[in-house]
Amino acid sequence: MAVSAFGIVSSADNSVHVDGLHDYRPIGAFSFLGRFRVIDFPISNMSNSDINRIQVYVRSRPRSIAEHVGSGRHYNINSKRGKIQLLFSENSSSRSIYNNDINAYMQNIDIIQRMHQDYVVIAPSYMVYKQDYRQLLDTHVASGADITLLYQKVDNAREYYKNCHTLSVNKQKGVQSIEKNLGTANNKNIFMDTYVMHRDIFVELVKAANWMSSMYTLADIVNLKCKDMDVRGYLHKGYFATLTSLEDYYNASMELLDYDTASDLFKANWPIYTRTTDSCPTQYFDTAKVTGSFVSNGCLIEGTVENSIIGRSVVIGKGAVIKNSIIMAYAKIEAGVHIENTIVDKWAHIIHAKNIHGEPDAPQYIKRQDTL
């Protein structure tokens, strides 16, 4: 790579709240497709793009992210040349309006200014996609633009991509504005909250935003600067998921049950790294009936599983039926329980409730460690 960049993995905006799941951990720590966590995707994208210095911003409840990311060794980050830093905005409570991305960058601006790399790639910890940032960076440098933004054309923005931003882009891929997705039309350019720019421009933007309003976010200031800076769009193609609402999370997960879609996201030359838990293979009993599902290691399956995602070390008893559901790690579904269109959080134990149903467009959610 001719030019070098460091990476920033950003945290979701305060306006984003995913029912249930979000009460226990930031979106980056959500379990995804059984054995991954959402933050594995941006960090693996960076690692695979030769970005060796990565700052992960954590706004609230840092335990699960800190535990999962750790030294970053499992992300193939060079142990001497590279580093993953977890950075916190310590001076304000998680719910405060002051606790936004600009505030977090301001608090760590000295660290950002000291980075040796000229460019910065900022990617969200709450979206899933595959992107070679070397291509993005090369295009950005070649174009001479000040800022390049990654976006995807979608045709279902009324129903999904809640809490996301949209870009209005002219024919030359010049970005005219960044706006909230208000669900007014289906065809939209969804902003993937991914930026490339020179470090100096980034520092300048952070300071400008902070000076103008304590509530300004990076998206707000870039929107303002669209008029007098050269801001371009870079079109992304392929699987893209935003996990900014329970429906989006559920829908994005279910979409990956199509093996071709999933395998497009997991190419051998683009590994998605995660922290191993060293669980053993999964045991299918002679009464098991499993179809159309992704299953993680360490499970004991005696029942029926259809079109579902099963996390690590889940126990599914005899005669239990799981359909169109996401069962997270260490959950225990006892014999005879029927579950449909439901997200069961980690360590939940379902024993007395024999029927748990959600709707395809409104999944049911079962709390972490709950006994039903």
Binding site: P271, P281, T282, L300
Partner: protein
Amino acid sequence: MAQNEMLAMILAGGRGSRLKDLTTKVAKPAVYYGGKYRIIDFPLSNCANSGINTVGVLTQYESVLLNSYVAQDGRWGLDSKDSGVYVLTPREKADEGLDVYRGTADAISQNIDFIDNYDPEYLLILSGDHIYKMNYDQMLDYHKEMKAEATIAVRPVPLKEASRFGIMNTDGHGKIVEFEEKPAKPKSNLASMGIYIFNWKPLRKMLIEDMKSQESNHDFGKDIIPKMLADEKALFAYEFKGYWKDVGTIDSLWEANMDLLDPKNSLNLNDSSWLIYTEDISTLPQYIGKDAKIKCAYITQGVRVEGSVTNSVLFTGAVVGKNAKVTDSVLMPGVVVEDGAQVTRALVAENVRIGQKAKVGDKNSENIELVAKNVKGGTN
């Protein structure tokens, strides 16, 4: 356990020639087992879980893969400041020529300098060929309690099979009075597991003498242990009752894999207090297709099943195509069973491809079929 109180040395030079094509390119300790493991993961994980920090792995036969595999000591958590896994192959020394390891004892003798670096109180000798879970720290406690000079782990075998093993005869209090290699008329059923704890200083002395001996086979079982008994040293048998397998043949390797299909098997790889660690591979979770039928199976991450799998163990990245049938079989990593193919009572080696509609193995066969080369597609 205090730092380096006990150092472990794993003998991993075994060729395992009865495993045929599975060991033409890799040594037996590197052979795959149990869906995601290699055999050597067991002694290495046992060391890590027993609090042993430093492990030497003695390799010789086809050691390239094994050397690079065990050098990644982080896999077993043996990568903290004072820990490490060290590969020790035969090497040329200043005052003598290059010598292969002439026997199990010689392999240790040739690495006395390595062991001296750590100055351990006790030396634990292990084999890299065996599948079992064992707490060596408890064995060390027993060794100390008995004030033994050497402690040998033993396990009870059926008396009628005892003549196939090295048998320890004890005085009823665990003290070994006699060691018989493959006795015609066994007096006891306690078979040696090839796991020894020695007090390092006296052993060191014996090994130096043994190296010079012309008559010696330089082997623990044949030379060192009998010599210690003849010298009336305090040798004790430490009885182990858990699951233990030495998978010497294709049939026994297949059988050991099949053991895992019983959810109540005594190896219990699902015990989170004693995990077996292995290489971490980035893959999707296992995917079970819309028309798949799975009954009684042990399947790991990265596997894709579209057909039917019964009574089988599937390793990382194995693929079973549409309408394919895999029964009573073991598919090693990367095996592809194409659409409509049938695999029965077989052990399919790494990355082998079974062509469309091909048939391998036979449900009435006496022995398990080893499939080590690609099989072309069939016609019916």
